[in-house]
Symmetry: D2
Subunit: 204 residues, 4 copies
């Protein structure tokens, strides 16, 4: 099949798990690669561009109850306690990301933002066809959200310098895996901002 355009139909920006901990010192319970905070900070430029272009923005948050009933198997591997309700690092970094009224918010208990959430309901309501992903972790929540979007027939794009992984190697491997699924899926912030801007001009 021919390579698809960067944005097909209605795009939606998914901001995956950019939470206060990304900008705090201390152990978030999850290993992070060098430059992680910088990439999260850069995601702000994509959020702003989406706002400018009238593209819906969805803030996704991983959050777990303090009684730990909903961690499932998430503590069997390399992650410690993370994203616990009531901890200072858990709230979405709304201020840092320039959230506007009208933006959406979807909490989740697992890695994929489709698993046990209202995401599919919301995307149907928005008549979304293209999903643009920023946030973390490249190789966990971003990768597995991309996969479920892909399996749900969405055109998926991931902004390589606005996502961060659990290690540089894992970050790079996940980007390669996403590009394998959809050619042209991996873009820089500069590229996606340009595409969003053209989208806006076409709509005007």
């Amino acid at each position: 099949m021919a390579r698809q355009p960067t944005i097909v139909g209605n795009p939606v920006l998914l901001v995956i798990d950019i939470q206060k901990s990304a900008f705090m010192d201390g152990d978030p319970g999850i290993p992070i690669m060098p430059g992680y905070s910088d990439n999260m900070r850069r995601a702000r430029s994509v959020v702003d561009a989406a706002h400018d272009a009238g593209i819906p923005v969805v803030f996704v948050q991983e959050i777990h109850r303090r009684d730990m009933v909903d961690y499932g198997r998430e503590l069997d591997g390399s992650e410690g306690i993370h994203c616990m309700e009531g901890e200072p690092g858990t709230p979405v970094a709304f201020e840092e990301m320039g959230r506007l009224p009208g933006d959406y918010y979807v909490p989740k208990r697992r890695y994929s933002c489709f698993y046990g959430t209202e995401m599919e309901i919301l995307l149907k309501g928005l008549k979304a066809q293209t999903l643009i992903l920023v946030g973390g972790m490249t190789d966990v929540c971003v990768h597995y959200s991309f996969v479920d979007g892909h399996q749900g027939d969405y055109h998926c794009r991931v902004v390589s310098d606005c996502v961060g992984g659990t290690s540089s190697e894992a970050h790079q491997a996940a980007l390669t895996a996403m590009e394998y699924l959809q050619e042209g899926a991996v873009l820089s912030a500069e590229d996606i901002i340009t595409a969003m801007s053209e989208q806006r001009m076409a709509a005007e």
Copy 2:
């Protein structure tokens, strides 16, 4: 959390997409790593061990209709037409894998064996707690089936020398990603066969 035992509760063996094409010459529509066929062939030993230990075996098959209505976005990336109904490479390699009466069969249209399938119904019926994965592709159907099993609270294990990837690098990266999710998840055929055998002896 402490590292979990290799087999917790009732195990089930998932044989992911070991289809005739794995043992045929010609282009299966999907890139494959060196040694792919050998690893698929080796999966037979794990199937046999499951049979010996009374562990349920589920053969999963990716299959797409000839009118191509159900490929979704699967042709937007590195894969060409694959697993099409009626093609000689598409049937499950039942003979090569030594299928027995009583084994289960679950077809699927997407990468994860949980996506749009009866897998969760079947696993609940089997009261499964541990999933053991062999087959292909390590970095696509195996990886994403593992992730959904993980998200569904199953203990997941992948047999490293009985799975094959779209490249050696992608294969290795996916194994690393699975080990990240559950420590001890990646095992050799020898190790899992030993664990299955102990499981059988404990049951006797």
Copy 3:
């Protein structure tokens, strides 16, 4: 919201569980209302009209494995063993319904044709917006398939004289419940055949 047109966007006909047992003597394991077989037979006229109008037809089949692993809680109530693989009443009544090549087939293990099936994948592939339901049982598989279609944002229609319930009262109550969800949802065969025919003419 204003009452919606009978057919919005692309329609798809779902033939729910019209299996050989509908036209056989003997106990199907499920209670049936008077006139059940007549209504199932009448469904053929809707299938024919869909074929004439170029509307996709999906045959759905409830089927359970002989080892009974996938009955779930379906035997806790008024139903006995039903739709078991290998029994003479279980195959889809393809001949009686005039199945054509190009029609689709989706097996299921539960009541709703969306639960643990590829239905949503298929409907996305068909770009379906309106679902037309015939078959049985009005108050079980038809009702609960309608509900899931409704929850998935589809316009849902049910053909009142081409569905049959577990009793006349249950049949009527389920029709009332579906009309509650979408005004104008309950139609006669004559009405839906007219609407399908207009759909075809509009497309020509």
Copy 4:
């Protein structure tokens, strides 16, 4: 299959959509049967009994965004705008129901409390096997939550004098439909409170 015990394994109480509007004058946007408020009030006794017996309680809330993106097809039938965020009738009636710290809360956008929610994640975490339902509407959210619980292999119970329908007829028909699915599913508050109490004593 033999009729099942009232409570099998671990029970969980699901309080479906008991929101402030149940105890307010004015139009909630949904038709209600006579005696609706009384039944909602009576549900408190079941919540208290669950607390006494150490049975987990989950408060479910239907809630829709003010921009109406997530109503789906819910306004195509007999319901008007309902459960809108920011309206006085929309908050869960926590005070009236005697909510305690440790109770759970799950919002939803559709009728079934499983559809696009974390319910299955939570129930797996609680190792629940029996679901006890109170709340409203008997023939919509309660009925369709029961059905999804049933399809998910849970033993489901509904407390007939602690649920209320969109009409007396619809209420009764839905109770009959639930009893059809699982014999013994429909119980009075008195019966379920007794069963909960025996559960507690058995645990001590």
